[in-house]
């Protein structure tokens, strides 16, 4: 409940949300475990996601109306909750992607000459 921990999680959740949305766009409806695995794999296993943090992030996205969920069955016939992107989610994803690209572009410009000088 400490403030600092909350800050960190919020930052993480910000990017995590983007990853979740992107994953759902690429893969279609997917359950929580699947999303977690996919993020892990895409990141080249660089990101060791604590799967537990994924669920509050999913809930937040659902509460905000960017994704929706329903119960279904997995390939090997396990009952699982499937998440899929809503229309609002798609829009939000586009927006966030653009913002992210801008941010990284700006940061890249900042970082590149700095490296040369040192």
């Amino acid at each position: 409940m400490g403030d600092k921990a909350a800050d960190k999680r919020d930052v993480w959740q910000g990017t995590l949300a983007l990853m979740v949305l992107k994953t759902l766009e690429a893969m279609g409806p997917l359950h929580g475990y699947g999303i977690a695995r996919r993020i892990e794999q895409t990141s080249g296993d660089l990101l060791a996601v604590n799967y537990g943090t994924l669920y509050p992030a999913l809930l937040k996205l659902e509460q905000e109306g960017y994704i929706s969920s329903e119960w279904g069955f997995s390939d090997n016939n396990r009952k699982a909750k499937y998440y899929k992107l809503t229309r609002a989610g798609r829009k939000q994803l586009n927006k966030e992607e653009r913002e992210w690209e801008q941010t990284t572009a700006i940061l890249a410009r900042f970082l590149a000459p700095g490296e040369e000088r040192s």
Binding site: M1, H31, G32, Y33, G34, R37, N50, Y51, G52, T53, Y55, P56, L59, K60, Q63, E64, G65, S74, N76, R78, K79, A80, K81
Partner: protein, 879 residues
């Protein structure tokens, strides 16, 4: 938008909790299953697969918990939880809860009461739609304005719309029933436009009706219409006689509008051409509406400029004459209302603080017994902030309960206030009929309760949570409250006792002053005197000779009534609050250079028996006799005060004085007697210099007549009216009432002050006594073991009593050391505000503190004695 949506969704999650929980569990299970499937596929053993899956998830319960926090609104959730828990705790401690709630109910209740009264008096005393845009323009100090000045202002002011004028006049209303003296107002035609109100029946004045010859129209107040005309619409168009002249009724004013306060009827203000151009005689009150966008200060700037122009143009009359703009609300409020109301607000605020301190103390005390509960909560992982929040919630809950109860208390107080006030007095008091618990009072009460809850709860919560964090589960061992907390509680109690002392002394001063003042009325034996007022209209009594004829006939008629001992005419009875009339005068041999430096005195025109009638002693010289006639030497009787002021070294008898300013040429009056001082106007603290003149030499159109009877005079009222009607059937005798009733009505406001102060003082006293008892009882309870141990090793009971009582004594002594000087200082303040108060009353300053000290010592002694009776064995066994 999205945030709001999420928030609502979370709010929704407060309900249907179980289903969501199940779903969460199912999702976690499914996640683990899927993960385990994967792990098994990779060749792990079942146990290994499961372990790895759980680890990767970061613990099932932790995940669920963070999930839950996101799902719902944790703050609201814990708040509800705290509320439920708090209610349960309060329910489990009925004694504590009841004490705290009652304390708060009283503390908040008196505040709500005074708030409601203050709101009615100072914020909207009048039910006018645009009240906050209405202003009055005066010559400063609420002084009236000369007609010519008014017309110039009306013409030139840009920032004030509908500048209208009025004057209040007492009028005799005759025709259809008994003659009646009524409150009248003569107003300009656009007066009701200024107020922004319309008659409920008929019409308002139209322009031109405030011109002579067109002005015989009248608008009735709703109250008069109901009282005298039975709310009959047929009265419209009919004619009534006012001061002997016929007026056609054209309208009935809307129910709530009575401005000026009080008014029974409005007639047009029709000034003669001479009056219209007069700048000397100022008798108009001027009101106006601020134009949209203009404020009082802008209007003031404009009026100051206009006043300066007039001052330049007419230096003879208008030199340095100012024009002051003030909100109408301020204009109508009584001269002492604001000071009294603010004083009461301050006092009840202090009472509330005392109540808060008491509740804080109760909570400190209870915290001691809840120590282990807090320790358990801390051990189970409750953070300090969580515990503080819990305790604060309980405190706020407590004060909200107190606030709810206070509304009952306040409405009872208000009912008492309004129902005990004579309706005749109530009408004179702008806003009195507007006193009630309204929406603002509810908001105020709620806010006060919240603030109280936080004020009373914050320190106990901080203290307790700190202790909880420190002590953890050590249990009862050495369980004395931390020194800091103990000191804080002692400070609270000390402050309580000190404040109680100040309040009780103040209350005693006011009550004693009031009692002495009204008690002094007994010397006049007012219960055997009946007074009545008459107001002879100039239209039918143009000459003073006519007036004297009336008075002679009336007094003869009254003296022949059965049981009447004596009769007299005078202008003002003792201990009235508005009846005196005063004048400048000049002393022969030392005439003042100008009006401003002239001495002044109250004047009374009396018939010869008056001084004896009112039991006023003639200390030197003689009283008036029937031989002091219009034509004989002009004479005067002065009171002792005036005699001492102006002839300090010699006898006043035979000296000369003259009524009026230095340039007036009224005849010299010869002083023939010196009378004892009488306090005619109680609002002036002390008897004013007074000049009595024979009615024959100084007749007045308005006068009081009095009859002294051998028994209760109230039954004579019809006969008295009959005698007056026999002389002049169109002349109402008004305010026909026994003198003791009249005196009561004139001083009732002060009586209210006294009663309220008494109640507040008692509340403060009770709270302080309970407070000191509580602190002592708890400190004794906490130190049982110590006392037991001391007794086991040989301490005598007396030592223990001293040990236990020392603290209480210290508190009392400190409280008195602070309280007494404050009481003396505030007594001066009270005396400057409340008439009749003697700030140096020795009885009050010795008696009240002594009584209070005894009460406080007793409250502390009872628990201390308990300490003395501690059985060492029992006490030590607790260890």
């Amino acid at each position: 938008m999205r945030r709001l949506r999420a928030w609502f969704s979370r709010l929704g999650e407060l309900f249907g909790k179980r289903r969501r929980e199940q779903e969460l569990s199912a999702e976690m299970d499914s996640h683990l299953q899927l993960h385990m499937d994967d792990n098994l596929r990779r060749g792990m053993s079942l146990a290994e697969a499961r372990r790895e899956a759980i680890m990767k998830l970061g613990g099932i319960e932790q995940t669920k918990e963070t999930y839950r926090e996101r799902r719902r609104l944790p703050i609201l959730e814990t708040l509800l939880q705290d509320f439920r828990y708090g209610l349960r705790m309060l329910w489990k401690n009925p004694g504590f809860t009841a004490t705290a709630v009652v304390t708060l109910a009283l503390g908040i209740g008196v505040n709500t009461t005074i708030f409601s009264i203050a709101e009615a008096f100072l914020v909207h005393p009048l039910a006018l739609p645009k009240l906050n845009r209405l202003v009055a323009v005066t010559n400063g100090q609420k002084r009236p304005v000369a007609p010519a000045d008014y017309f110039d202002w009306k013409l030139q002011s840009q920032l004030l719309e509908h500048l209208s004028a009025y004057r209040s006049l007492d009028m005799n209303l005759t025709g259809s029933g008994e003659p009646e003296r009524v409150y009248g107002a003569a107003v300009t035609a656009d007066f009701f436009q200024t107020l922004g109100v319309d008659p409920s029946e008929g019409r308002a004045f139209s322009s031109g009706e405030d011109e002579l010859g067109h002005n015989q129209v009248v608008i009735l107040s709703h109250g008069l219409w109901q009282r005298r005309f039975g709310a009959d619409r047929a009265v419209l168009g009919k004619s009534v006689a006012i001061d002997g002249r016929p007026y056609a009724v054209i309208g009935v004013m809307n129910k709530n509008v009575e401005f000026p306060v009080p008014t029974d009827l409005w007639i047009p203000l029709a000034l003669t051409p001479k009056e219209k151009t007069d700048r000397g005689a100022a008798f108009l009150h001027v009101i106006g509406q601020l134009t949209p966008g203009a404020g009082v200060s802008q209007a003031q700037a404009e009026m100051t400029l206009l006043a300066r122009h007039l001052s330049d143009a007419y230096p003879l009359t208008n030199k340095d004459r100012e024009a002051q703009v003030m909100p109408l609300v301020e204009f109508v409020e009584g001269s002492i209302t604001r000071a009294y109301t603010v004083m009461m607000l301050v006092i009840v605020g202090i009472v509330l603080l005392v109540a808060c301190a008491n509740v804080a103390n109760l909570q400190f005390a209870r915290a001691t017994s809840r120590k282990s509960e807090m320790a358990v909560r801390t051990a189970l992982g409750a953070g300090r902030s969580r515990i503080i929040r819990q305790l604060l919630t309980e405190s706020v809950l407590l004060s909200l309960l107190g606030g709810a109860a206070s509304l009952l208390f306040a409405s009872a107080c208000l009912w008492l206030c309004v129902s005990r006030m004579p309706s005749y007095v109530m009408r004179l008091w702008a806003g009195f009929d507007k006193i009630r618990l309204n929406g603002w009072a509810f908001v105020f009460t709620f806010a006060a309760a919240l603030v109280c809850g936080i004020l009373a709860g914050i320190l106990p919560a901080l203290g307790t949570s700190k202790a909880a964090a420190g002590d953890a589960l050590k249990g009862g061992r050495g369980a004395t409250a931390s020194r800091g907390v103990q000191r804080l509680r002692s400070i609270f109690v000390t402050a309580q006792v000190a404040v109680a002392l100040v309040l009780v002394v103040g209350a005693a001063l006011i009550i004693k002053g009031f009692r002495e003042m009204t008690g002094s009325a007994d010397t006049y034996a007012p219960e055997r005197v009946l007074t009545l007022g008459v107001n002879l209209p100039v239209s039918r009594y143009p000459q003073s000779a006519d007036q004297l004829v009336f008075y002679r006939k009336a007094l003869d008629g009254l003296s022949s009534l059965p049981g009447v001992e004596s009769v007299a005419a005078f202008n003002c009875y003792p201990l009235s609050n508005n009846g005196t009339s005063w004048t400048y005068f000049q002393v022969e041999g030392s005439v003042a250079p100008d009006l401003r430096h002239s001495p002044w005195a109250d004047t009374q025109s009396i018939t010869p028996p008056y001084l004896q009638f009112m039991r006023v002693e003639v200390q030197a010289g003689r009283g008036f006799t029937a031989d002091d006639r219009e034509t004989t030497q002009p004479v005067a009787i002065v009171n002792q005060k005036l005699a001492k002021l102006y002839w300090p070294k010699e006898s006043a008898l035979g000296k000369h004085l003259r009524i009026g300013g230095p340039d007036d040429s009224s005849p010299w009056l010869t002083v023939v007697g010196v009378a004892a001082d009488v306090l005619y106007d109680w609002t002036s603290h002390v008897p004013a210099p007074t000049i009595y003149r024979p009615l024959t030499q100084a007749p007045l159109a308005a006068s009081l007549l009095g009859i002294r009877t051998s028994s209760g005079p109230a039954s004579l009222e019809p006969a008295v009216r009959g005698r007056i009607a026999a002389i002049d059937p169109d002349l109402p005798a008004f305010d026909v009432k026994p003198l003791d009733v009249a005196i009561h009505e004139s001083t009732v406001g002060l009586g209210y002050m006294g009663a309220m102060m008494g109640i507040l003082g008692l509340i403060a006293l009770a709270v302080a006594v309970v407070g000191i008892y509580g602190v002592m009882a708890y400190s004794v309870g906490e130190r049982r073991k110590e006392f037991g141990l001391r007794m086991a090793i040989g301490a005598r009971p007396r030592d223990i009593l001293w040990l236990a009582g020392r603290h209480g004594l210290l508190i009392s002594a400190t409280a008195f050391a602070i309280g007494l000087p404050s009481a003396i200082a505030s007594a001066r303040l009270v005396a400057s505000l409340v008439y009749g108060t003697n700030p140096g009353d020795p009885l009050v300053f010795v008696g009240v503190p002594l009584a209070l000290f005894l009460a406080v010592i007793l409250a502390g002694y009872i628990p201390a004695r308990r300490a003395m009776r501690v059985d060492p064995m029992v006490a030590l066994r607790y260890e």
